[in-house]
Symmetry: C2
Subunit: 370 residues, 2 copies
């Protein structure tokens, strides 16, 4: 990162490499494949555009920030090449619909490719991306952002597909209705589009965004790379940095995944290895890893982060690249406190994902020294 | 009908009774249940609004006409009450999006409830409905209008549901894409919404609308009622008036219907009665009656009209009120020549409905004297 005269930070290719890893970890298996996202952002950088991050505290209160991201199933966006300017078309159509000019681009979810999409759009539009996001991780549905949870109304919004179709969700009576209509429409569009939501003010974003998640993800990625470089343990590096813990290691013994209603859904079974042999773990998937159970007992669930790493490389795995027989490590990372309030848990707690039998029991945030 | 000083025709309750029957016949089983539509239009009339028809030839060339209609599955709109102002919200949102004021409302399809929806919206907005439509019957998909076939681009369009959600299809790269996105979205909205398309000019509509279909449907309904009143044969009255023929009578022996992708689809089997005993007929359904076969041989298919009447009353049946054991008469009516061109057959011929094995062989239009 290189500070520019206007106070924004310009990213270089090494930042994108680090963001790929860090956003993959925070993505908890979803948010779109970060490798594909990195390739797209890097191409934009090589084409001569600036990828810029704006520190949250430098944002003017009255600034207009347009949050945006890819919508659809990660599996589709992994296999199907984007046209490239979907997000820019969203931004321009939204500006036209509402008669305003955006000051910055916002990130809906820092996890996976959705950390890269705002950078690409910001670059093409000449705008910085605010250093923060609405999830601090990845979640499968649009209403699951701190923006929506704390009162931002996301319509009018604009959704654009690779073909050139443009749909405006002009008014949704609730955030959940917005999600339902957009999800149905993105399936018709082929399963991977971009959606830009109604602008937020700088003052709102400073209060309710999960702060500094771009610098967090880049720092996390650098820590993993550094641990790998010096043959130290990347798993330990992640846990130390994020205050999390290593909860399981094992081999994937069964993997059920299917594409349903515009989502990747499924279950992974993992047989224990090393210090965990004799135990079995299960992970419930809806685009992201939602719930981790050991020997039939739920241990970690949304909104806390269930992260799956390749056991040997320490690099994060997304749901669509998991394979039978893979050796994996499972980490539990504590979620930001904005995700743990009663309001938030109604939208992103286990009951919101169809598991009312589980109660969210926040994992303690360990001290970095531990 | 009563002519007003401005040259438009005001409808009364007896016109709505006749339109219910006539639009039911032209609806070929679909277009939404005309009885429900009549109740809604009648209520608007009783609330003191004018239901007005504007003769096609009085339309100014530069007039802006907004075509609209219900979208979804007829079965849903039969069972679920509309909120009532969906169409008016569509019209207002479209006017706001494009910055114009509509001069008249247009009809997408004269068949079934979709003959009534424009009257309701026109009444609430104080606008007349142009005497003509885009189908001269009913078809299941939006791109199947003469408007779309002869070059009108239907986006930007606005779709509103009973809940208050508003979606703008701002740009669709083709008419079929518009249909695909709107169909997916209406399913998410519950299966019965209203959609208003981009305005057409008066000169375009005078050239490409199926002309005079409101007065045609009302006249047809009156002829059936009159035949019933004097104990004459309503089937003969319809055939005489529309130049069609009575192709089958029988009892429904099997009826497969299901709700798929936002449509009612299915097949009806009919065992012959009276002069047709010993023969079996089959009708293919997608919201409407599409294809009539006798003893395994296709005889009548889209765009020509396959009409199913209750054998005793001579009144038309929609697909959702057909029942096992019902005694029915099947009529074949010739379609308008605008539906029979090579351009039109690409969109509304049997191949467009998944039956490339059939070739459209237009039924001859019989003389009224016959």
């Amino acid at each position: 990162m290189r500070e520019l005269p206007d106070g924004t930070q310009a990213l270089d290719e090494s930042d994108l490499e680090a963001l790929e890893i860090g956003s993959g970890i925070l993505g908890t298996g979803g948010g779109g494949n970060p490798y594909i996202g990195k390739l797209r952002a890097r191409q934009v950088l090589r084409d001569g555009y600036d990828l810029r991050i704006q520190p949250l505290d430098t944002l003017a209160d009255e600034a207009s920030i347009v949050p945006l991201g890819g919508i659809g199933a990660p599996l589709v966006s992994f296999e199907r090449i984007k046209e490239g300017r979907e997000g820019l078309r969203c931004l321009r159509a939204l500006e036209q619909r509402l008669g305003f000019v955006a000051d910055a681009v916002g990130c809906e979810e820092i996890g996976g490719q959705n950390s890269m999409e705002p950078l690409v759009v910001g670059a093409l539009a000449g705008l910085p991306v605010v250093d923060g996001d609405g999830m601090g991780r990845a979640f499968p549905e649009m209403q699951m952002t701190t923006y929506a949870i704390y009162g931002h109304r996301s319509t009018p919004s604009v959704m654009c597909d690779p073909h050139g179709n443009i749909v405006i969700f002009d008014h949704a009576i609730t955030e959940k209705w917005h999600e339902l209509m957009a999800r149905a429409c993105v399936v018709a569009q082929g399963g991977a589009s971009v959606l830009a939501s109604a602008p937020m003010s700088g003052s709102f974003m400073k209060r309710y965004a999960i702060p500094h998640t771009y610098t967090q993800a880049i720092g996390l990625g650098r820590a993993v790379s550094e641990a790998r470089r010096v043959h130290a343990d990347p798993i330990k590096a992640i846990c130390t940095r994020e205050g999390g813990r290593h909860v399981f290691s094992g081999k994937i013994t069964d993997l059920q995944r299917h594409f349903k209603g515009g989502f990747n859904v499924g279950i992974a079974q993992i047989g224990g290895l090393d210090g965990f042999s004799g135990s079995t773990a299960e992970i419930v998937i809806q685009n992201e890893f939602l719930i981790f159970s050991r020997d039939g007992e739920m241990e970690v669930c949304v909104p806390d982060l269930v992260v799956v790493l390749d056991l040997d490389s320490g690099l994060p795995l997304t749901t669509e690249v998991m394979r039978f027989g893979q050796r994996v490590a499972i980490l539990a990372l504590p979620s930001h406190h904005l995700l743990r309030t009663a309001n938030a848990l109604e939208v992103i707690g286990p009951a919101a994902f169809g598991h009312p039998e589980f109660t969210f029991n926040p994992i303690p945030k360990r001290e970095a020294a531990e």
